[in-house]
């Protein structure tokens, strides 16, 4: 009698315990990711500094992303110019276009879109590369040589991302503001002086600093998630080998993109 009651209770609690398990899993995973990042970050400063590796990674994450950042920045600015103009013209305040474009780029679109572009370009590649190194035992090989794989593989990437992201964001912002100028002034005939005057007067250092902090936060999120997914490819339950790498790459891109947007919201609510 008592036993059946207990069983019934257990069945009733099944969904609850499933949620609990899931929550514990998520919390543990978060903890692991945080530890992974902190270790990797601290190891950047361990001597001797791995300058050539960091430069190599900046080349990969930053330099090679310039083209895609310029393109997306230009078109984002241009479309903002178009949309903003037709919205503002209804209120007779098209003169504010410069402010609208500059603020939305510097505060939001610059950091977010450049982070997403870098995820697609470099983040996925990072996850795949590290994942392959994991499954072909290259990471184990590093360990047997007493080379710390975190220091050797992850730290240069974290350093490079922390350097590259703000710079890419700045490039995105500047190109975007000029993109807005292209549609707003050249195409739709707002006085360029007013456009830039408005952009200048409306943007505060606070906005620029906010965008800068965001880009740093996104750098941390993207590089940590992508490296983490690759690094622990072998622990995935869904698939091993090449399939595991493909899962890792996919989840690296998806998770880091979503997290970028979530972190963006949280940071915006703090910065405003």
């Amino acid at each position: 009698m008592k036993k059946t009651e207990q069983n019934a209770l257990a069945t009733a609690l099944l969904p609850a315990s499933a949620i609990g398990r899931w929550a514990i899993f998520i919390i543990r995973e978060l903890g692991r990711i945080a530890i992974f990042f902190v270790k990797g970050f601290l190891l950047i400063f361990s001597l001797p500094l791995q300058m050539s590796k960091i430069i190599e990674q900046i080349y990969f994450i930053g330099t090679k992303s310039i083209l895609v950042i310029c393109l997306t920045g230009a078109f984002t600015g241009m479309v903002l110019g178009l949309q903003g103009y037709y919205t503002l013209v209804k209120f007779g305040s098209e003169g504010l276009l410069g402010a609208a474009v500059a603020l939305s780029l510097i505060r939001e679109l610059g950091p977010v879109l450049s982070a997403i572009m870098v995820i697609g370009r470099a983040g996925s590649a990072m996850a795949a590369e590290i994942g392959i190194m994991r499954i072909s035992e290259q990471i184990d090989a590093l360990e047997t040589m007493d080379i710390n794989p975190l220091r050797f593989l992850i730290s240069p990437r974290i350093a490079a991302a922390l350097i590259s992201f703000p710079l890419l964001t700045a490039i995105f912002d500047v190109i975007g503001i000029f993109g807005g100028y292209m549609t707003g002034s050249v195409l739709l005939g707002i006085d360029p002086a007013i456009y830039f005057y408005r952009a200048q007067t409306s943007v505060l250092m606070k906005d620029i600093a906010g965008g800068f902090y965001k880009s740093l936060a996104f750098a941390v999120v993207v590089v940590t998630i992508c490296c983490f997914q690759g690094y622990y490819t072998h622990m995935r339950a869904e698939g091993f080998g090449a399939k595991g790498v493909s899962f890792s790459t996919t989840s690296a891109v998806v998770i880091s993109s979503v997290l970028v947007l979530i972190v963006d919201y949280v940071m915006t609510s703090f910065l405003i």
Partner: protein, 149 residues
């Protein structure tokens, strides 16, 4: 050979990026946080409706500073506005700060009207004489319907 070209490419990337950061922070952000060119003063207003951080501060129609932040004083329930005024501009302690509107529905800004006092307002000091934002709607309704009281 290959290595130097990577380094050069990274160098170019860094230069472009730093130029962009410089453009953003110097041209657009005006690097206020260096704190060299401005000093803060505070002003209390009954209402700053429509005023935003970053709005101009003018004296005799000349740009002399910016609204840095707007907060609510929780005790007195009035708005406290932090103004950044250019260094070198000395304000007397009876200066009047008024919230004005450029044009009919344009941006709000703060107009400073100089006073006659001998004592100067210290950095971080409080402007006591203020005029709040004109509530255009109530003004219009007053004009249209006539003062009911």
């Amino acid at each position: 050979m290959k290595k130097t070209s990577i380094e050069a490419a990274v160098g170019i990337f860094m230069i472009i990026g730093i130029i962009c950061v410089g453009y953003l922070s110097i041209r657009l952000g005006k690097m206020e946080w260096t704190g060299d060119k401005y000093y803060p003063v505070y002003a209390r207003f009954q209402s700053v409706s429509g005023l935003i951080a970053g709005a101009h501060v003018e004296l005799a129609g000349v740009h002399v500073g910016k609204v840095y932040s707007i907060k609510l004083d929780p005790k007195r329930l009035v708005a406290v506005v932090e103004l950044k005024i250019q260094k070198g501009l000395k304000l007397s302690d009876d200066v009047i700060a008024a919230v004005k509107t450029s044009g009919l529905i344009g941006d709000k800004y703060i107009e400073l009207v100089p006073g006659n006092s001998e004592t100067l307002l210290k950095p971080g000091g409080l402007i006591t004489e203020t005029e709040s934002a004109v509530d255009l709607e109530s003004l219009i309704s007053k004009y249209v319907f006539g003062g009911t009281k």
